[in-house]
Amino acid sequence: MVPLPLIAARSAWNRRTTLSLVVLSIALSVALLLGVERLRHDARDGFAHSVSGTDLIVGARTAPVQLLLNAVFRIGSASAGMRWQSFADLSAMPQVAWAVPLSLGDSHRGFPVLGTTPDYFDRVRHGRGTPLRFVAGQRFAHLFDAVLGAEVAERLGYRVGQTISLEHGSGAGIVAAHDDKPFTVTGILARTGTPIDRTVHVGLEAIEAIHLDWQGGAPVPGLSIPADMVRKFDLTPKTITAAMVGLHSRAAVFRVQRSVNAYPGEALIAILPGVALDELWSVVAVAETTLLAISTMVVVVGLAGLVAVILAGLNERRRELAVLRAVGASPRQVFALLTIEGLMVTAGGLLLGLALLVAASAAAAPLVQARLGIDLALRGLSTGELGWLAVVAGASLLACLIPGYRAYRLSLADGLTPRL
């Protein structure tokens, strides 16, 4: 005895060539919709987890979002540096518990190099306040020591004790190598899922040291200071890119922000990471909404294709419907048959779409992690995603009522002998 859904399944299988294209289009549309949602969610999570435990970020005056992107996410470049004296004054403020300098600009094989103080490893938090942890070695102690983020070590296969050389500039802007002053890897950090994973950390003095015989962003011709000689120079930096600041009391945050913004020595800006992030999201919200609208439309197109294909096939199937009526199927069962068939195609599309999403996330995860520091973790469906799937299934049910109703009308009008 063949149950009704099985008849619908056999019928769908009989037209699998046409319907598989519909399944594919629904799958792609669903994968796109969920992918956009997931990427958005992961990006927000990733960004929010990267700025944990820091009350203020201070840098040369610029747009808050730009300072945040540069200092925390190593994206873009700072328009100007911040004087060392300014940093010293900032650290001396009574409300300031700690201040960690950040000096960016060099890179190592595509990964950004950050000059900082050993304090950094105590102060920086990620996720919901988790401190940094070493999986191997320890923080830098000597001038040419380097601590690697998890991603750097993994991708380049580095171990503690290995020597590496830095490059001046980053990406396409690399102008020359600092290969005369090699660094020794002294520590490797545990994975954080933040831009720290992609960062090479060195001492602030080391940044100064490798640029001693440089001027205006290029080596000075004829001048070369050997590595063992640099210690004789004053390695206090003249400028840094930005500073991360922790306060004794969060209540003082706006007061400190105001006084930094009014600093007489130079034009500085202090930003609250959370506020700057919100600003960033409000900037990209339009793009997000547009993406979401587009992917919703793609789903609608997919479902419209499904209805069109089933409706188009219906005329050829009027004989089949008449036969079903003749053996006793009610118009309601004919209606159900067509609707079930459409829903099965949608279900196939949803499942394939999820598979595509998982496959695409798995394939893209290393790249996204390396380039954007966003962790596309493999995981179960969130309630939000289940909600979207339910919406698509519901929309499909509504859409499939159309061919169902058409078949119902046809089977009533045709009786036993369809007039073709």
Binding site: V2, N14, L324, R325, A326, V327, G328, S330, G415
Partner: protein, 236 residues
């Protein structure tokens, strides 16, 4: 002799049409009777079969089937009545192309609890009876699991016959079932059908435009004479 089918003061007009295309004052077919319904194409044979088959609803008059006044039945009850009491054989394309031969035959039991119950009473099962019928109609077992669309037209018609007969309905409606067959096969098919109907005491209404087959049946009905609806062409 009890009546299997009784029609009184029947009138039917297609939706939207003013005048009825079919008007029959009285028609009675006895249980077990095998009737040849003759009429040229377009004379309303298919319409009459649609009415008797409870797919179409008459505008006026009554159709009594197996003692039931079918006009009083709801749509669902009419569908159940058709599934239980009537077997239908079309001219061609009788089978669901994506179901196997066996599943096509079993489809009749799928929609009728009564046919299943009758088979059970007879100590058989739907599958067992389907196999018996198919074998009897000379369809070898290696055909059974094939998709119905792979069979020849003659084989398909025999599968349709097995489906109409399974579970012992009272009435078989055959709408030009032999028209797609060549002459020698026509006679063979009809003889098979008549044999089965006689053996089971099944009533048969066999509609065809080809009067050469009429001699094999009990009675011949001329629909052109029976139908009192004024034909637009003037040939009532």
């Amino acid at each position: 002799m009890t009546a299997s089918l009784r029609i009184e003061a029947l009138a039917y007009a297609w939706p939207g049409a003013q005048a009825p295309c079919l008007r029959i004052d009285a028609l009675e077919i006895a249980r077990g009777e095998r009737v040849f319904l003759h009429g040229p194409s377009g004379s309303g044979k298919s319409t009459l079969l649609g009415l008797i088959g409870l797919v179409l609803r008459p505008g006026a008059g009554t159709i009594t089937l197996a003692g039931q006044d079918t006009g009083r039945l709801s749509g669902t009850a009419r569908d159940r009545m058709r599934a239980d009491h009537i077997g239908v054989i079309f001219q061609q394309f009788n089978l669901i192309p994506y179901l196997s031969v066996l599943d096509n035959v079993l489809l009749a039991c799928r929609f009728s609890a009564r046919r299943r119950a009758q088979l059970q009473d007879a100590g058989s099962t739907p599958t067992g009876e389907a196999a018996r019928l198919l074998r009897q109609l000379d369809l070898a077992a290696d055909h059974w699991t094939r998709p119905a669309a792979r069979l020849s037209v003659g084989q398909q018609q025999r599968v349709a016959m097995a489906r109409a007969l399974i579970g012992g309905p009272e009435l078989i409606l055959a709408d030009e079932p032999t028209s797609a067959l060549d002459a020698p096969r026509q006679q063979a098919f009809l003889e098979l059908l008549l044999g089965e109907c006689t053996a089971r005491g099944t009533t048969l209404v066999f509609a065809s435009h080809d009067r050469s087959l009429a001699r094999l049946l009990d009675r011949e009905l001329d629909l052109a004479a029976l139908n009192r609806a004024a034909d637009p062409d003037g040939s009532a």
